[in-house]
Amino acid sequence: MTTISQALKREFAYEAGNYDVLVVGAGHAGCEAALAAARQGLSTILFSLNLDSLANMPCNPSIGGTAKGQLVREIDALGGQMGIVADLTAIQMRMLNRSKGPAVFSPRAQIDRRKYSGMMKEILEKEPNLFIRQGEITEILCENDDGKMTVSGAMTRTGAVYSASSVIVCSGTYMESRVIMGEVVYESGPDGLFPSHGLSGSLAAAGIPLQRFKTGTPVRLNARYVDFSKMEKQEGETDIPPFSFAHEMAGIRPPQNQTPCWTIWTTPRTREVVNGNLDRSPLYSGVIEGTGPRYCPSIEDKFVKFKDKERHQVFVEPMGSDTCEMYLQGMSTSMPEEVQVQIVQSMPGLEHAHIQRSAYAIEYDCIDPTSMFPSLESRHISGLFTAGQINGSSGYEEAAAQGLMAGINAAKYVQGKPPLILDRSEAYIGVLIDDLVTKGTSEPYRMMTSRAEYRLFLRQDNADERLTEYGHQLGLISDGRYALFLSKKNAVIAEEKRLRATYLPPSDKMKALMESLGSTPPPSGISLAELLKRPELHYADLASVDPDRKPLEESVVFAVEVNIKYEGYMRLEQDRINKFKTLEHRSLPQDLPYPEVTGLRLEARQKLAAHRPVSIGQASRISGVSPSDIAVLLVYLEARRRREGSL
């Protein structure tokens, strides 16, 4: 690794400045990281290859969806930026899974991507303590103190040497990236932007293990040559909360005039074209070496791996309000350009489609995330943090969530304070980061609700209740917003209490109401809360038998109803969470001599020595570590504590 003084000896090198936190890359991770660090009072500089592509959406022009929508709500509750900008630049909003229960409600929005990028740039520019700079970081600088490496800054292609107490790398899919379309392969970043050279080599030189991943994106079309009459229309919704709790509490709702999306299906001709050109697909000819995501297969993968499926669904989505460009969700491909035209034109309404941008696959370097602590700090270099696709994840929301946590923890590092680590029972963010750093990933990692063990608790509607306290303590949530949050929380508690304490005697009115709602009239007196527990009854239904009811915010009613309806199930989940927490809060010293711990099985010794988990909980999630190994560790720890105590 290069030190600051070595870097300054290079040709054309110069001292360019000194910052607390230096952020490499201004995608969704980098923007959140830089804002979080600056808002905690640290002088911060953010680098981007191209300032016109800040917070870019090179793939889907949307934010949210299942699990991802929950992530955005959590980012917002902690004081992140994504939810606010998404609300203000959305051209369509929907709440997915409304029929499947509040635990899986997921907000999703179509975004005007140019507006999103522009608004984020302005926010970054106006932020105190924060400086943004166009430039390519080619090397991370480190000081080596007797084998212990500590980050000290970074160097640009143009020879500028910046010193920094902490560096956050959010390089996305840019490191040594190459784009593949059929037989054509060339070095390039996403969306026609430059790749980044040298950075991953500099990380590898410090001993950080690298992986090579692949992802892809579909074609973009001009709407003027699309026949929407052959497609099914999908309208937005206006009666749903926005992403940001600040907006929700201020009564802001999705816009009235929303842009529709469209759905179509592939045809037998599509299948024929794909199957007839498989020999030209780099996925099958061996040109692509990187591992692609299973949840986002290219159209050729879909026809090959799911042979008996005759057709696949495709979504046609607008890219913005002042452009004719449309995005073809479900049609990611790395086929040659000429084949792409045939595939697209084989579908209904797209017979005369004009492609504005080709689909492509992109390969890039990322790190093995098990080389990080749960704080997102590198185990190899103190003060070096990484966030986003460099950590093997995929998706704007996953990136932003990690960026926010890396920004928070880089600041903590500089201030000499312990990091903030959210656990699996507190947030999807906790699940995401724990999965990455504990289990690693062999493909670009996408957040899914199925990955969360405590889904009844990790809901989009209660993200504020789970995380606002943290955000406020960090200084990322203003006192004003915090006061609003507390008043909502108190309103929920008060209304819940009232519903539990209000008993209704049997009456003709009650009988009539119950019968009209398809419910059994209660034989004796019953509390409003007991009534609300019935699956067929909702809060709004009971207005006529509840004269003392005061008008309440929708979000308060929602919370009250969920808390009461799901009480029994949530108590079971709470028991599981309590059990989980006791293991999670037993920390494991980093210097534990695993090979010497008697009673551990050989496999467990090796795995634990390699992973060096930070808590008993993390140890228990490493594959190959059994419950009896955990019991042995607990006893060993206690013996050690006493031995040390007796010294």
Binding site: C59, G65, T66, A67, L96, S99, K100, G101, P102, A103, V104, P218, R294, Y295, C296, P297, S298, D301, K302, F306, K309, H312, Q313, F315, G330, K439, M448, T449, S450, R451, A452, E453, R455, L456, P535, Y566, Y569, L572, E573, N578, K579, K581, T582, T598, G599, L600, R601, S623, S626, P627, S628, A631, L634, V635, Y636, E638, A639, R642, R643, S646
Partner: protein
């Protein structure tokens, strides 16, 4: 510490003994015990377990709150943290030594809020609470690892391996359904995600039946682990003791033969046709005014309660055949719903002529009484020649095989921890089905199904989220 459920296990070794001790530890121990224990007499006249002071005992009965049935008369001692072996609130239950009694007490504790202790958990907790000095630390770790190694001993491994496979085959089909449900949640925009709730319910029901079947093998597994309890009954001098002696010499695997210290019964362990058998000799089952004999009789009834097979030995004097005999009383009363075998003892005193027709007479008489259907087999037994032993052996084998009938494979649950997991899985699965049938929202069904998968995962070692995501990707075609 967490508000974790108290854990319990038998603290005395398995096998025959006069008394056994069941230990339960954890903050809620007293509350759990109180649900199943009614106090007859106690120090300071404490009315409930929670009122008992530390180091005091109470005498009373353990009942199954489910059906109110008395399981045993026991003495419970209460220990209050930190003055106990584990350093936590604990209870020790001194019960009678029969294996069925122990199992029943453990079962009601588990059903009323306790869980099975992990291997070495009492000792580990004791150590962590500072109840042992440092020099014992390594010994404790060895105990824990030895326990887990023991679970890997050859015979156990075979059994556990087969069980794992069986559970995995059930959980694989459950994962397919789980993945379908999760797919609807995970990718709601895709119209082609499976959505047929009725088909899902049918599949879940099939798995539920398999789990219930597996759960029921615990009784067969219990026989392999604890022995089949065969209780010998009959009036005095009917030849019970000679049968016992004969059996004692029947197989070399006989372990112990000791008189019960708290009941007038005698137990002998042995194997018959490869089936471990616990033979219990009883006092006669008769009405009596004699106080001491009364006690013996009530214990005999208790033994009858826990029997897998009742053997009635008819006395050669024909006493059993008269109206209102004890055999009649037993068949019409206490033998209710038990498997019964009738043996005629071929005593040396018996006239050979009578002996030839006697079994037939017994059979006819029982038919006249209307109990013929209740009796599994009739036979003649001679402690001199060993006649009848073969029949007895094949009948015991047949009974054992029948207990496993209806199961698809030879996989047996022998471990109560496994039983508990399977029972929990089955319970949550049943509730999942209910929720789907009621048309409640998918998030609840998924949460319950996850509990099912978690319970099964503790047997197979699978991590639910990983398996689920794997299944979703391999079965469904989705993407941007």
């Amino acid at each position: 510490m967490s508000p974790d459920r108290p854990y319990c296990a038998c603290a005395t070794p398995p096998g025959a003994s006069g008394l056994a001790v069941i230990r339960m530890s954890g903050p809620d121990s007293a509350a759990v015990l109180n649900r199943v224990f009614s106090i007859s007499r106690s120090a300071d006249n404490a009315a409930s377990v929670m009122d008992m002071r530390g180091y005091t005992a109470a005498f009373g009965t353990i009942r199954d709150p489910g059906d109110g049935k008395v399981i045993d008369e026991v003495i419970c001692t209460r220990f209050i943290a930190p003055h106990s072996y584990t350093g936590e609130d604990s209870i020790e239950i001194s019960c009678h030594g029969g294996s069925a009694v122990r199992q029943e007490i453990l079962r009601v504790l588990l059903e009323n809020g306790a869980r099975t202790a992990e291997p070495g958990e009492f000792t580990r907790t004791a150590f962590l609470a500072g109840k042992m000095d440092l020099s014992q630390a390594e010994a404790v770790m060895d105990v824990i690892s030895a326990d887990s190694e023991l679970a890997l001993a050859a015979a156990e491994r075979q059994l556990a391996g087969a069980l794992k496979q069986k559970v995995r085959s059930i959980s694989e089909s459950l994962y397919q359904v789980f993945a379908s449900l999760e797919m609807m949640v995970e990718f709601p925009e895709h119209e082609d995600t499976p959505g047929n709730t009725e088909a899902i319910i049918q599949k879940l029901k099939t798995s539920d039946r398999l789990l219930t079947g597996l759960k029921n093998t615990f009784s067969q597994g219990r026989i392999l682990r604890e022995g089949m309890t065969v209780v010998l009954c009959g009036v005095p001098n009917s030849g019970k003791s000679s049968l016992l002696n004969r059996l004692a010499g029947y197989d070399r695997a006989i372990v112990t033969a000791q008189p019960g210290t708290t009941r007038d019964t005698l137990e002998v362990f042995g194997t018959i046709e490869g089936i471990p058998v616990r033979l219990v000799d009883t006092a006669g089952l008769r009405d009596t005014d004699d106080e001491i004999e009364k006690l013996g009789v009530s214990r005999a009834f208790a033994a009858v309660n826990e029997a897998d097979l009742l053997l009635w030995l008819c006395s050669p004097d024909g006493e059993d055949l008269r109206d209102g005999s004890e055999l009649f009383a037993a068949l019409s009363g206490s033998f209710h719903q038990k498997d019964i075998g009738i043996l005629v003892s071929k005593a040396d005193l018996m006239d050979t002529n009578i002996a030839g027709t006697f079994p037939e007479n017994v059979r006819d008489r029982i038919r006249e009484w209307g109990f013929a259907d209740r009796v599994r087999f009739f036979g003649v037994f001679s402690s001199e020649t060993g006649e009848g032993m073969e029949l007895l052996g094949s009948e015991i084998r047949r009974l054992y095989d029948e207990k496993g009938q209806g199961q698809m494979s030879q996989v047996l649950l022998t471990n109560s921890r496994h039983f508990e997991k399977i029972a929990l899985a089955s319970e949550t699965l049943t509730e999942t089905i209910l929720i789907l049938q009621q048309g409640q929202s998918a998030d609840l069904a998924c949460a319950l199904l996850r509990s099912t998968m978690d319970a099964l995962g503790e047997i197979t070692g699978d991590i639910v989220s990983e398996e689920l995501v794997e299944m979703i990707f391999s079965r469904f075609c989705i993407g941007k």
